[in-house]
Each structure stands twice: as C-alpha cells, then as structure tokens.
C-alpha cells in the first residue's frame, strides 16, 4: 500500500501525464481511505486553475 508521501508525488505527476492503470488503481484506493490526500489532490487542481487564470491575466494586461 502506498503511503501519503508517495501519493503526493503521483498526484503531482497526474497533473502532467496520464498515469498508467497500475498507478491509477492504488492511487484511487488510497484516496478512498485518505481525506488528507483527497484534499491534496483538490488543492493541486485549484493551483492549476489559479496558475492558468493568472497567466491569462498577465497576457491581457498590456495588449488590451
């Protein structure tokens, strides 16, 4: 069974590539049982959304 630290690495990599089934399943199993890592994953999603929003805002600033 994967520990939380390992899960954070896999959740970060899941932002960058599609995890293979062999990694996806243990991650999913862990997330069912672990609220902390579930929140961690959601926080990474927010980080992605925020960074995209921030990027688009800096692009628009001077080109309007």
């Amino acid at each position: 069974m994967l520990n939380c630290k390992e899960i954070t690495h896999l959740l970060s990599e899941a932002q960058d590539r599609q995890l293979p089934l062999s990694e996806r399943l243990p991650v999913r199993l862990h997330l069912v049982l672990c609220q902390g890592c579930r929140n961690y994953g959601k926080q990474l999603d927010l980080l992605r959304a925020a960074t995209r929003g921030y990027r688009d805002a800096t692009r628009d600033e001077h080109t309007k």
Binding site: N3, K5, G36, K42, L44, A50, T51, R59, E61
Partner: protein
Amino acid sequence: MLRFARLQLRDAAAAEDAVQDALLAAMSNAKQFAGRAQLKTWVFSILRNKIVDHIRQQARTTNASALSGADENLDQTFDSLFKSNAHWTPGSRPRDWGDPQAALHQQNFWNVFDVCLNHLPENTARVFMMREFLDFETPEVCQELGITVNNCNVILHRARNALRLCLERGWFAAGETAC
C-alpha cells in the same frame, strides 16, 4: 507582455529584450500574420519562442538541476509534514479549501498568489513556469533544460508543494481566522 516575460525570466533586462525582439519580429513578419490567428495569440507565440531562446541559452551555462539552499529548505518543510511512516501528521493533513471558484474571484487571493509565485526559488520557478505558463509538456521542459524527466517531476512536485503551503498560510488559513 512585459509582466508575462518577467515572471518567466525573472530578469527585468532579459524580459525587456524578449518583448522587444518579439514585437520587432511581429512587425517585420506582419505579412505572414494575415489574420490567421488572433493578433494577440500570434504575438504571444512569438514572445514564447523568444523566452524559450533565452532559457535555452541560460541552460547552457547554469545547472538546472542544482539544488539551492532555498530548495533544500522547501524539501525539509515538506518532509516535516509527515510522520516517520510517511503519512500526514495530524496538524499538516491538507484541508478542504472549500469552493475554489470563490477564491479565484477575489482580488486579494491574486495578491497572495502573486507573492507565493515570486517566492519560489529560481530554478524551481523556471521549471514550473515553463510547464504551467508556457504550456510545455514535462519531457519538453527536461529536454530544453538538459535534466531528466524524474528530476523535472521532483522539481514540479516541490513547486506545487511550496505554492499550496504558501496559499494555505497566506490565504485559506488567514481567511479563516478573520471570520
């Protein structure tokens, strides 16, 4: 455009050069543009190339995988969130940040985010920005910087952890005590 380049390059002079080069290139190639894409998108794709040129040059003289003291501090902070069995300590278990859209609509959130982004150590920030701002896939980032994919993943993980802790402290926790 300048702010965009500055965030990516962390060097005001280099950022100005990149923007100037991009604008010059855009003007001298204006015929090529011919309304195929939105003007803004087109100029930004030129700027992106100029930024990448600069990063490539830099990568030849600096070691992108070198760990700075600030990077090591981030790693220590991250390690301290876990018990010896590598599960979260009760106090550091990531919390529910609630409705993310609510945060993204508040100006103060963006001020905190700006500070957090600028606090990232240089090498870590470069990899993160290439991935998230310039939209490179991880293997491309590694290739440009001459580092391994594994190293890239470690750096991205470090950047994300630093940002989430910074947001947690600067925004989500602060918001809670204010209520």
